[in-house]
Amino acid sequence: MTRAVARRIASGAVVLWAAATAAYLALLAAPGDIVDSLIGDGADTPQIRAQIITEWNLDRPAVVQYLDYLWRAAQGDLGRSYLLQRPVGEVIGDQLPPTLRLAVAAAVFGVVLALVLAVTTRHRWVRRASSTAELIIVSTPPFLIGIVLLSVFSFRFGLFPVSGDQGWAALVLPAVTLGLPIAGVLAQVLRDGLDRALDEPFAVTARARGLTERAVLMRHALRHSLIPAVTLLGWLTGALLGGAVIIEQVFGRPGLGQVTLQAVGNGDMPVVLAVVVLAAAAFVVVNTVADLAYLLIDPRLRRSTS
């Protein structure tokens, strides 16, 4: 047990290191050097350049900078943002909560909607209508959905705030926008899982016991359909984080997405690196959660009990 935990932690650390290193290398390869980015729109003279170089210690060899970065990152110091002039940890710390709120709300909305859709729309016409709607949602650029929702519910009817992160009302539209495609994909996977499970011999056996169709669905099939859904957990996290970049832009919400876009646009390397490391950390966590979820759902995977 402890060995498994230790292995998990070790492999997580390796993933984090690999992600940070890959991103570091990638950014080194980027054209336009850091000084160019730091100069921005302003004046550009050799003296100014020299000062920037000394200020950010950019005159040291790349390897030294990289090792220094790793060493400080290992101690939890992610450096200072070139653009925002603040510690990266603080920048990320400030922007994480709104993104988390959005992601969690979207995930909850998406998952619940998907479950409801998959379970309730079992009959021919509803099912077909629901599948069609899911297909359209999944095939439409999410920002388009967002823009339309925004103009209808916020501009036209004034039901929700236009933008920002101000209480629950402001969370509704972005979370719906981000959650809809997730619900679309998930509902399809769940429905497929339900179909498969209901075709399995154990489902027929359950019916042979005199169970109602609903009982077969809820007590037997649903749990089976969760297994492929858990496989999507990694994808889901990616979709949430990636989607947040676009959704935050559309709804003018603060958050990691905005920070990332800004950092990428301005070559704000410390922030970009931190975002990459954060995403890698999310990957590690989600993988662990997924493994646990598998164990919870599927007793066949619980080795120790025998």
Binding site: P31, G32, D36, P87, R253
Partner: protein, 521 residues
């Protein structure tokens, strides 16, 4: 800061809180690090400078009571107010003013200000708590412009030492302004509360004593349509940066009013890179200008709400040369003639002119983070025009900051676009046109031009400065066709009728601070 014009009728009311949707989120709350003209309205809420502007373009005392210039133009003596306290409780006096200037000699604090604005400053002396003297190495009237600018704002020396994130600023950076920065939520909003102790408004201000509002929230809404939506659906009471396409929407609404202010500084212009072909040829530069029907382009893109610029100097500047108007541009026949003369006679399959098999291509590189005011759309419109009227291939690339800076450094561009928001147009011209200017992208080197620019900076007499700068304009616009001025950048404010006291800062032309704002109930 003083304001210009008041939109809403009625008498000012005290108290209340207001939400203002602004386009730009400041990257810093430290005025010394100021770099965004769009963030200027926030600076003056918490900070003040030694001087400010009046409506005529002159200077009026703010935290000073007056100043004197020595005959050789190298010594500026300021008398300071003695009744002013920073919000952290420390008093404002000459030592503080000196500390603020000295802060710039800290390495890495703001190399740009040190290299440009304070280039000619030798040292600052404190004579007594109410007197401070600036010694220059050579005459430079732009010192006054600096001392009235956000970067010259006065910050409590104590907080300069103690602030947690000095360069980012924040609530712990104390100023003397009518508001206190209450809190800042990145990506979202910044909230100011009234400074009840404030009682040193400058002469031109709308009132005296503390600010009217108890509290003002600035929300950062980058999307123009979202700002307008927020205003029309009543979620904010006042916005700035109204897109041209939405102006009709606001003027048609009796509950809203709209006002526009032209910015100071340089006009938004295209600068031609003369260091290599094709713009090393005067005829091609002229031809490009003739190929664009600027009025038509502006009508299309800004629906007639933009003010056409004829000079690199903005029309509100005292140095503006009105005689340049309608002297060039919009003559497609002339453009084609000039290009034929310059040898660009052949056409390729796509209809573009060529010479020796090379297409007449000119590149404009825009840095995505700094594109605003639909300048990318404007570029597309110009692109379409020069193609249709003269067969010029204008290649527009919107790229990230690093790529853009590198392209400029490597000379991989033929057109450079820029506008500067300096309150004194001379400061902008120095940077853009002097052969040693920090953003001289034309590559044009002319001792005569440098001489004129230096005169303009040294002369303390306004009339002599004006003559020098008018010659600069004639030389660069008419004679050399270095520049294609497009429009005078402007700011718009739209507000509900319940909001009063809003307007634009004189000289700068950007939205004024919240000092005079009030909200009727």
């Amino acid at each position: 800061a003083p304001r210009e014009g008041t939109a809403a009728a009625g008498r000012p009311v005290s108290g209340g809180s207001l939400t203002w949707a602004v386009e730009t989120e400041p990257i810093t709350f430290n005025p010394h690090q100021y770099a965004q003209a769009k963030a200027r309205l926030l600076v003056w809420n918490t900070f003040e400078a030694l001087l400010t502007h009046d409506t005529q373009g002159g200077y009026v005392p703010w935290l000073s009571t007056g100043h004197q210039v020595s005959a050789d133009g190298r010594t500026y003596t300021f008398k300071l107010r003695t009744d002013v306290t920073f919000s952290d409780g420390t008093r404002f006096h000459a030592e503080a003013a000196k500390a603020n200037i000295d802060q710039f000699s800290v390495d890495g604090y703001n190399p740009s200000v040190r290299a440009v604005q304070l280039r000619n400053l030798d040292r600052v002396d404190v004579v007594d708590p109410a007197t401070v003297v600036f010694h220059l190495r050579q005459p430079d009237v732009l010192l006054l412009d600096f001392l009235s600018s956000p970067q010259g704002a006065q910050v409590s020396p104590k907080s300069l030492k103690e602030a947690k994130n000095l360069k980012a600023g924040g609530p712990d950076l104390a100023g003397t302004g009518p508001f206190l920065l209450d809190h800042y939520t990145a990506g979202q909003e910044v909230v100011f509360t009234k400074n009840p102790a404030y009682n040193w408004a400058p002469a031109g201000a709308g009132h005296t004593g503390p600010a009217h509002l108890d509290r003002i929230t600035y929300r950062f809404l980058k999307e123009p349509s979202v700002r307008v939506g927020a205003l029309t659906s009543g979620q904010v009471q006042i916005i700035e940066g109204v897109p041209a396409t939405d102006e009709a929407l606001i003027t048609a609404n009796p509950q809203l009013s709209l006002s526009r202010g032209l910015n100071s500084g340089s006009a938004y212009s295209y600068y031609f890179n003369t260091t290599h072909a094709p713009f090393d040829d005067l005829r091609v530069r002229q031809a490009f200008r003739e190929a664009v029907d600027v009025d038509a382009v502006l009508t299309g893109v800004y629906r007639g709400s933009a003010t056409r610029a004829w000079s690199v100097v903005g029309p509100t500047s005292p140095f503006y040369d009105r005689t340049l108007e309608k002297t060039y541009g919009g003559d497609a026949a002339k453009a084609n003639r000039l290009l034929d003369e310059a040898g660009w006679t052949a056409r390729d399959a796509d209809g573009f002119r060529t010479r020796d098999g090379k297409r007449l291509t000119v590149r404009l590189v825009q840095s995505a983070p700094f594109v605003r005011d639909r300048r990318d759309v404007l570029a597309q419109a110009v692109q379409a025009q020069v193609k249709q009227s003269a067969g010029i291939d204008l290649n527009v690339a919107v790229v990230d900051q690093g790529t853009a800076t590198q392209a400029l450094a490597d000379g991989q561009y033929e057109v450079f676009d820029n506008s500067r928001a300096d309150t004194d147009a001379g400061a902008a011209l120095n940077l853009l046109l002097h052969s040693g200017g920090a953003i001289n992208r034309t590559g044009f080197q002319d001792p005569a031009l440098d001489e004129l620019l230096e005169q303009g900076q040294a002369a303390s007499d306004q009339a002599r400065r004006k003559t020098a700068y008018q010659q600069v304009q004639k030389l660069t616009i008419t004679d050399q066709a270095l520049i294609l001025p497009l429009y005078a950048p402007a700011d718009q404010i739209a507000a509900g009728t319940t909001v009063g006291g809003w307007g634009f800062e004189p000289a700068a032309g950007v939205p004024a601070s919240a000092y005079d704002l009030w909200l009727s109930r």
